[in-house]
């Protein structure tokens, strides 16, 4: 009897070691293996995502999430498909950030000083608390681009917000109810449409292609057999000084 208890105890210990990470999902304790992302850990625990999950590669922003850790007063922020679970994490998954985008026709807008304020007037409610910046899993200086938006500096908004994946955590936390990521997207669109320097070499190349400069070469390639193509491929010049 004593032996059996010892074996069971040992099994429990080894399982606990194997499932080394203790997490809480919506208040309930689970043990999961180390090395899982928040998303995978929740799936391991039996949850199935039909919303609030997307590319699973850290790009789409669908799985923005919040968590706290034992003994910490601060809320932390991450994309669930990227952040690895740690012992003592309190988890939940946010299916969606409700922040409606204003409807506009980019062709009818102009990159004026007050276009962002006109479409998103709540911008003026910013008190520079910086809560948005603290919420950004991409480490974007969100408050700084909102401040740039306030003073009509569209270029700066576009540059500072470039890495935004539109997870919406900034807008969920903002005490002024600003829709940061929509403002930033509008600024990037305005920048791309009206302010960014035109790529002249691209227009030139398109004109060359349209004028048929490469037609002959393309015809030659499409007529080639596999062997001849392989030979050509092997002998291609990549870059001066770089061996194939």
């Amino acid at each position: 009897m004593a032996d059996r208890e010892a074996v069971e105890q040992e099994e429990r210990t080894s399982l606990a070691e194997e499932l080394g990470v203790r997490i809480y999902i919506m208040g309930k304790e689970y043990r999961v293996p180390a090395g899982l992302t928040i998303m995978k850990a929740m799936e391991y625990a039996g949850y199935k995502f039909i919303r609030g999950a997307g590319c699973r590669a850290g790009f789409c922003g669908a799985c923005g999430t919040v968590y706290r850790k034992e003994g910490e007063y601060k809320l932390r922020f991450a994309v669930a498909c990227q952040k690895l679970v740690e012992d003592g994490m309190f988890l939940v998954q946010l299916p969606f950030a409700p922040a409606p985008r204003v409807s506009y026709d980019l062709e009818k807008l102009r990159p004026t000083e007050n276009v962002l304020l006109k479409l998103y007037p709540e911008l003026a409610r910013c008190v520079a608390c910086n809560t948005c910046t603290k919420a950004c899993p991409q480490e974007i200086p969100v408050m700084d681009y909102i401040q740039a938006a306030l003073r009509g500096d569209i270029k700066r908004v576009a540059e500072l917000s470039f890495d935004c994946i539109q997870c919406g955590l900034c807008s969920m936390r903002c005490p002024a109810d600003i829709k940061h990521y929509h403002v930033a997207q509008l600024a990037r669109r305005l920048y791309g449409r009206y302010l960014a320097p035109k790529a002249e070499h691209l227009a030139q190349r398109v004109a060359e292609i349209e004028a048929g400069r490469f037609d002959e070469e393309l015809d030659r390639l499409t007529r080639m057999g596999k062997e001849e193509l392989s030979k050509l491929y092997e002998a291609r010049q990549i870059e001066e000084g770089v061996g194939v």
Binding site: C126, A128, G152
Partner: protein
């Protein structure tokens, strides 16, 4: 002299002519305005509630930016930014318990330790550059030009923040004289322009601006100078509505004091029609103060 400069949002957008002329005119006096690398809105439209610490985050954050840059002084041209930043600076120094709370909230920033002095360009001109030096730099004296200084609220109130006697200020008059022009006094020079009522109550503000402008004009003013983008908007752009209300009203150009300086210093390029509803150039050309 190099001094840390806080332009503020308006000077980056609708009052870009204020920023341009301020940099040009101060540059001509050997003062380089060095814009803070990073800054946010001063936090204006201050709350009238007593529990408004959240509203002090923006100005204090700007003071931290100055502290970070190793600056003990921060100069502004905009009267609104000046008022907001200076009020916050004085307030947190007088109330360390409020500063402690603000610093605790701004936990991602270094603590604000106090000691950054907020200055207005006019104070810098009066107290450090000196109006004599201003007069010496004048290449085109504005002889015979009758200019009404307009202070509004923000340069004068509240006590301790105001940069001159709130009842009888003279700093703009001294500047006007140094530039060779003639100051025109008006009893309404320190009255409110109507401020943000211009958004919801245009007519109230237009009537008020009408009074301020007409009083100055009746005393012979040919132009009015201000140091605030909002006052300037109300006194200048609202002249369209004033004309609708009073067909006999004659337009009066409204300039930033830095534009008047640029004009007297021969920096004409700093005086553009942008930023003005009443274009001041035709009138200045007529007075042969600006080349056609």
């Amino acid at each position: 002299m190099r001094i840390a400069y806080y332009p503020g949002c308006s000077l980056k957008a609708l009052a870009a002519n204020f920023d341009r002329s301020a940099r040009a005119a101060m540059g001509a006096l050997g003062v380089e305005l060095v814009e803070l690398e990073r800054w946010n809105c001063c936090g204006t439209v201050s709350s009238l509630t007593t529990d408004d610490l959240m509203r002090q985050l923006a100005p204090v954050r700007n003071l931290i930016r100055a502290q970070e840059a190793g600056e003990r002084r921060l100069v502004t041209a905009c009267a609104m930014c000046y008022n907001t930043l200076k009020r916050a600076a004085l307030r947190v120094e007088a109330h360390p318990e409020e500063l402690a709370k603000i610093n605790a909230f701004l936990d991602e920033e270094p603590d604000y330790r106090g000691g950054v002095r907020v200055l207005h360009l006019l104070e810098l001109l009066r107290d450090e550059v000196g109006f004599e030096a201003v007069a010496k730099r004048v290449v085109r004296p504005l002889e015979g030009l009758r200019v009404a200084p307009y202070y509004g609220c923000l340069l004068l109130r509240p006590r301790g923040v105001g940069l001159d006697d709130p009842e009888n200020p003279s700093i703009l008059e001294e500047l006007v004289r140094a530039l060779g022009a003639e100051p025109v006094d008006s009893p309404l020079k320190g009255q409110c322009c109507g401020s943000y009522h211009t958004v919801a109550h245009k007519e109230v503000v237009a009537r008020r601006a009408h009074k301020i402008l007409s009083e100055a004009a009746s005393r012979g003013a040919e132009a009015l100078i201000s140091s605030c983008p909002l006052c300037s908007f109300n006194l200048d752009n609202r002249q369209r509505l004033i004309r609708e209300l009073d067909g006999s009203f004659a337009p009066l150009p409204v300039l930033y004091f830095t534009e008047l300086m640029a004009l007297a210093f021969g920096l004409e390029e700093a005086l553009s029609p942008e930023g003005h509803y009443v274009d001041p150039r035709p009138f200045l050309e007529e007075r042969q103060l600006l080349r056609r």
